[in-house]
Symmetry: none
Subunit: 231 residues, 4 copies
């Protein structure tokens, strides 16, 4: 038994040791990715896509330009990966709202609004980047894989929102419209207001009225989709 344990232990140790190395490398790799993403965010946000250079991003990440290409296929994918990240966060938040068992459709709509605003506050610049990306020529140059991922996530979020509306319609709380259209409109209104207000803010250096405007927008939407009889 002792001998057996002797002969087995090394293997186990070895196994765990190797796993430990792999894990550590994995974590190291993820850390680098984040390093790059953080730097990319800074530079893309400040300069925009065209005027941001890989070299500057690399300098910001305290890495060499070549290293960036070990983690991202090219400049465009690096740009898009920023969106991917916020989109994932958004999808999770939206999913959470959907799963809140003890909330009715209307409360869920409120929660959804809050969730989306949270996402904005969590990382406003990236969210705006994402909306830019969604309506951009860059989109055409992305690798199909990444493009699919972006589409998938967007569709998933909007789909979840649509499910929420569907539930509300069934329960006679929301007016009888195509749920997918409602979700699209909800999403559009959010992105439209975010872009317009951010833009106004950038140009006029006014106080940013985004929060207030969003609240009114959501209120209007909320009233607008409510069954009249319920109003």
């Amino acid at each position: 038994m002792f001998i057996i344990s002797l002969s087995i232990q090394p293997l186990l140790t070895c196994k765990f040791y190797i796993m430990g190395i792999k894990e550590r490398k994995q974590r190291e790799r993820e850390r680098r990715r984040q390093q790059i993403i953080v730097a990319a965010k800074r530079v893309f946000t400040e300069k925009g896509f065209n005027r941001a250079t890989i070299e500057e991003i690399a300098r910001n990440a305290e890495l060499s330009p070549g290293t960036l290409y070990l983690y991202f296929k090219n400049k465009e994918e690096l740009y898009a990966s920023l969106s991917l990240r916020i989109l994932q966060y958004l999808a999770i938040r939206v999913e959470h709202v959907k799963n809140e068992a003890n909330l009715g459709p209307r409360d869920k709509l409120d929660a959804l609004m809050n969730a989306m605003y949270d996402v904005y506050e969590f990382d406003p610049l990236i969210l705006i980047n994402m909306f830019h990306l969604q309506s951009s020529e860059t989109l055409k140059n992305l690798s199909p894989v990444l493009l699919d991922e972006l589409n998938e996530l967007t569709r998933k979020s909007i789909g979840t929102i649509a499910a929420l509306f569907e539930d509300g319609i069934k329960k006679d709380i929301f007016s009888d419209q195509h749920p997918m259209a409602l979700a699209d409109i909800f999403w559009s209104m959010f992105s439209g207001v975010v872009l317009l207000e951010t833009n106004k803010h950038a140009l006029n250096e006014d106080k940013n009225f985004l929060k207030e405007t969003l609240e009114i927008a959501f209120e209007i939407f909320s009233k607008g989709v409510a069954r009249k009889s319920t109003g």
Copy 2:
């Protein structure tokens, strides 16, 4: 008579001739501008801002690259001038709606929706271009003069819309919100839906549901801003 005409005519002719030349030159100049704008629209729409080249636009306009610079300061201003044009048209249409004396606020809101959809149909590509521009890094590189013009026109249109809401609120037809916020939201919803649906269409090659979605969006908005008691 022949001789007289010979002696008088030249003077007259000369005067008119010169005026004619100026006018003709003016008209010629305007014709050239349009030629360029039409070509630019084609190329920018097909290739996007970055991948469109001045040379290709020039070739499309059957002019030389150098000539374009006699009419537009640079590539960015050429791009922006497309937006300027549609924005002017939009401002006019919005103004018209406002001036329809025999329409009440709610009917005016309907007319406004139709007007905006008209603008979309009049030149969808440019309208989309314009929304892209509004949320883009290109904006930062425009000459202050052009930027001012763009802002002025946008503000004017949104301002007119706000006036329309203000009137409705005074008459207790619309709920009591800040008119400017309502106008922003109305505008945002329109642009948001246009961008999202166009984008979906471009990526999925689906049927374009823009019209249907816009109609639902406007309906929701319309209900949403209506005074409850009236609902």
Copy 3:
């Protein structure tokens, strides 16, 4: 008649004027091409294909890098165009030999040898470049058009040589072998010797024995293809 001449002259003048401009531009363009080719030859010869940079070639040609791309599609085509030039010259010389009516096949073979050596002396570096190119990976990256031109010219020259052998075989002066094979061998021997001797010269800084070696080679070939009975 006077009036007619009045109405025609301007057209003619105009026509000639335009042709003059066109011609001048054409000549100007050709001059630039030569400027670039001369510079390219210098730099490619000194540094080899990889280590030669477009910038250095441009500097040598006293032009800007961008200008080179108005005349040549890319670095590789510029490189290949050097070969094209010498190949054209070679084709002409070979053709001349073939057309010498008052020379018999054996004299023509002698004349051919002299012609090929002339071509070598006319521009040894480029001829060597050409042989390098013929056996190189660069070849795979050329545009089909240029590649075709190169092949066409090579084939043409070797074909003319083959015709010469065919004539000699018919007249029972050369031994009965496939003329195309003879032409290939003649060509191969020439290029093989040129490359080997140049290479030896480059590495050992010996005296260049190319001329002597080529003479012996041609003599051997000459004997080798002669009908035995004649020998």
Copy 4:
């Protein structure tokens, strides 16, 4: 005895053991080198020198890029070492022909031709690589040591061939030319034909006529160097 063996054996064992290790390591090392060379051949042949990457060669050899640098100083030396190998084989074959005591000069010339064609068949790709290398800019970047080795081997082979001719000339079988020149020409013809035919084959996807052409070439050469009286 047991004890003695215990006390002695370890020393012996140790000695032999160490030698065994050294040998094993030596053999292991050689195995690795071959692994790399085989992979390099594959990749260089498929992609050419420039487009082949160290990483791909390493992947092919199932080693890491860094490891390659433990066996070869750099990419160029790795490339050249392929030539070295075939050149060594060629030198051996040529030497064998020379040492065939019971063959006359003419038969040796035949045997030489066969030997060289054997070498081609043994590894056509590498032989072609070698001829490319011989006439290339890469040559200039090799370490003096390797360059010397390449030159030495080439010189040795050509020298042996020259000796063969010298013998034939002495015996009045070959015409009285400088033996070294004859050897150069023999070598050049071989390489010239191999390159031309391979190239034609690569470009036109014709049947490869190399063997037939080489036979004719050797026949011509054979006749060409024979004493006339003998012819």
